[in-house]
């Protein structure tokens, strides 16, 4: 019954941010940009969603990038090439609707810059002009700059402290581009929810269509439990199978932000226990 989800390669991209290639041929065979996998590091682990960053049908691997922020991602980070994860399923979610557009602006912040890579690539591959805006807290946490550059017509970088690119947020860059007269057909965004909320408001102000890839808490990943439910246009939607992408201007952002904080107490307790126990599985 058991499958082997072997880690093939692991790369440390920044402090606490890791890239991992996993052998999962049946997922690699059908993966599409914008989809994600559900992962359990070990038997007692949580089921967590992670965006598919890249994959190879031929070689049968999939790539994920994650930041170690809690027990589940820390456990995942402990796996070395040759070791196997307990469970991986996918691809989950509805793929990004990719079509040839004149100009697409991709906005991505933090660890989610990696999640923007397959989307930028897909739009570029169909002949769209891709303007990417990526941002992080500081230069040392800025990941995937080269990868994004390789699939973008133009790249803009921001850091909160100004240690790389302009000082400020990705939303500042988006605002100045739109203010200077850029009229993209689509703003596609992924990153911290607050970033997406702000970028969504900016896009709306300039009358630009915007799509956001959401990151709510999930359990099943397949429309069964409703943990990931969000409100879009006043209606309850499941990010796991109707999303994770939705029209950004219709998303009730404040509700999503609150729902993401639901288990803060439990997460801290779990993390404390994990670290006090030596931080191993």
């Amino acid at each position: 019954m058991a499958n082997s989800y072997r880690v093939l390669r692991k790369r440390i991209l920044a402090s606490g941010i890791k890239e991992m290639d996993i052998y999962a041929p049946r997922i690699a065979r059908v993966a599409m940009p914008g989809q994600f996998i559900m992962v359990m590091a070990d038997e007692g682990g949580e089921r967590i969603p992670l965006t598919l960053v890249d994959w190879s049908k031929v070689e049968g691997w999939i790539r994920i990038v994650f930041q170690e922020v809690g027990v589940s991602t820390m456990k995942l980070g402990l796996f070395e090439p040759g070791e196997s994860l307990y469970y991986v399923s996918g691809p989950h979610g509805t793929p990004t609707h990719v079509s040839k557009l004149n100009t697409v602006v991709i906005v991505a912040g933090g660890v989610a810059i990696a999640a923007a890579y397959p989307i930028a690539k897909a739009f570029r591959d169909v002949g769209s002009r891709v303007i990417s805006i990526i941002g992080a807290k500081n230069s040392s946490l800025l990941i995937y700059e080269e990868e994004i550059k390789s699939v973008s017509t133009e790249i803009h970088i921001s850091t909160d402290d100004g240690s790389r690119g302009i000082r400020g947020f990705t939303s500042d860059v988006l605002e100045s581009l739109l203010a200077s007269g850029l009229k993209p057909d689509l703003v596609w965004m992924v990153g911290p929810t607050i970033m997406m909320k702000v970028c969504s408001a900016i896009a709306k102000r300039y009358g630009v269509r915007a799509v956001a890839s959401l990151n709510p808490i999930m359990v099943c990943g397949m429309g069964m439990c409703g943990a990931c439910r969000i409100r879009v246009d006043g209606r309850i939607r499941f990010a796991c199978f109707e999303g994770p992408e939705f029209d950004a201007s219709s998303v009730e952002w404040d509700e999503l932000i609150l729902r993401l904080q639901m288990y803060r107490e439990e997460e801290q307790l779990s993390l404390k226990r994990f670290l006090e126990g030596g931080g191993h599985i």
């Binding site: 019954m1 499958n3 059908v30 007692g44 469970y87 439990c225 609150l258 439990e266």
Partner: protein
């Protein structure tokens, strides 16, 4: 008829003791109790009880074998029709099926068939009696069958077709097989080691189970048909329904599916030893009156709630839950508020639910279900809560039909099948909750049996 002896009650743990953990509540018969209960069976030649069994277990025969202490043979008789007797013996609503038709039911003292089935199954488990699913009738037939979903319907299809000699692969999306038996029904009603053992038995008999495989995503029905001769869809009714009232996305308002999945599948009741958290409420409201609502309410008590309220829009006599489960919940201290309908959830500044506004209802004329229709009054009340569980019901799982337009569904999202389980797509069959909406474990198994027969018959014409 004072000569009729009373039923031997199945021993249960005391409410105060069982509330301390998630261990099983009903303890099962001792051999002595089983023998005493079996001795009450009058062995009617017409076997009315069998007609009440969706999988047609030869009930009088296995009870007779118990009386003769021939437990292994009794187990074989049950196993011949039911691949998972330790499970059905625990969760079947026998009072609506076999026991309802028992001749002694006319005197209010039906044989405790479920408890006897459980006794035999547990005896076999403890003794390590293992019965090959492929029995002596084994005649190898050519054909590969894909079963989607490892819940009760899928288990029966797999087991029946394996016995007929087909090669069977079950595709399960989650990381553990069993479907609703694993994620839905709590440990205190159905210990997961029992589910694991019953499924292990199936795997040892030769059924292949692929975990983490989401049909509709990892592979389509079209791709499966290139590799398999027939497909059975048993993906269940796992898609939650909502009340569609304000505040429904406030934090700590769970669907019963999420609440129970966190507890049963992810073992959140053992957090932080298991990583998945669950919010342990002090004042918990459960909305709904079915078995799922009882499971959720009793789970919430075990997580440490001070008060658990079940909110139901009709009265106790209309509750769809089993009487036994309602009684268990009452014994454990669950409080029931009848004739109320939630109309709004109110939250605090952190987005956490803190209050439910309820409309008081009264009962009117019978509706299409035959039950009196709840009618709103103009009176509302409020209760303070910190966790809410919505157990009002489910829709069929939309994933497979959504990705396979040839498989037609009705207005309620249920896959349309003929009487024999054929969908509108050739070589594709379906059964269980994906077809009926919301049924029981044993009803799903009954569907599985029908579909397995049809698949075998259709394959013979190929």
């Amino acid at each position: 008829m004072s000569k009729i002896k009373s039923r031997v009650l199945i021993p249960k743990r005391e409410p105060l003791e069982r509330l301390k953990d998630f261990n099983e509540v009903a303890l099962g018969y001792s051999e002595k109790e089983a023998l005493e209960e079996a001795s009450r069976c009058i062995q009617c030649p017409s076997k009315p009880c069998v007609q009440g069994c969706p999988v047609e277990i030869d009930i009088p025969r296995f009870i007779k074998l118990i009386r003769e202490r021939r437990y292994e043979e009794a187990y074989k008789v049950i196993k011949d029709k039911c691949p998972i007797p330790a499970i059905t013996g625990r969760v079947c609503p026998q009072e609506k099926q076999c026991e309802k038709l028992c001749t002694l039911a006319k005197f209010g003292k039906p044989i405790a068939i479920g408890a006897l089935e459980r006794f035999v199954a547990d005896w076999a488990r403890e003794k390590g009696v293992y019965i090959e699913v492929r029995n002596s009738n084994f005649n190898s037939k050519n054909g590969k069958i894909a079963v989607i979903g490892s819940g009760p319907a899928g288990i029966v299809v797999a087991s029946d077709l394996l016995r007929l000699g087909y090669e069977v692969t079950i595709f399960e999306a989650l990381h553990v097989p069993g479907g609703v038996l694993t994620y839905g029904i709590p440990e205190f009603r159905l210990p997961k080691r029992i589910v694991n053992d019953e499924i292990k038995c199936l795997v040892e008999s030769g059924v292949n189970i692929e975990l983490g495989f989401i049909v509709g995503k990892t592979i389509t029905i079209y791709d499966l048909l290139k590799e398999f001769n027939a497909i059975f869809i048993g993906t269940g009714a796992g898609h939650p329904r909502f009340l569609e009232i304000p505040g429904e996305n406030l934090s700590y308002i769970y669907t019963a599916n999420e609440f129970l999945t966190r507890i049963n599948l992810m073992k959140a009741y053992l957090f932080p030893y298991y990583d998945t958290p669950i919010r342990k409420g002090k004042y918990v409201a459960v909305i709904g009156g079915g078995n799922t609502a009882m499971d959720a309410a009793r789970s919430a008590l075990r997580l440490g709630a001070e008060k658990v309220f079940v909110l139901y829009r009709r009265t106790k006599s209309e509750m769809p839950a089993r009487r036994e489960e309602i009684a268990n919940a009452e014994e454990e201290g669950v409080e029931f508020i009848f004739l109320v309908q939630p109309i709004e959830f109110i939250g605090n500044s952190l987005g956490a639910v803190s209050e439910i506004k309820l409309m008081k209802m009264r009962l009117g004329e019978p509706d299409e279900t035959g039950r009196p229709k709840p009618i709103p009054t103009d009176e509302t009340i409020s209760i303070q809560v910190d966790v809410v569980i919505n157990a009002i019901g489910f829709h069929p799982n939309p994933l497979v039909p959504m990705t396979t337009p040839e498989i037609k569904v009705d207005k309620r999202g249920r896959i349309i099948v003929d009487k024999e389980g054929r969908t509108t797509m050739p070589k594709v069959y379906a059964g269980g909750d994906i077809v009926v909406g919301e049924g029981t474990v044993i009803e799903a198994m009954g569907w599985g049996r029908i579909a397995a027969r049809t698949i075998d018959r259709d394959m013979s014409f190929l």
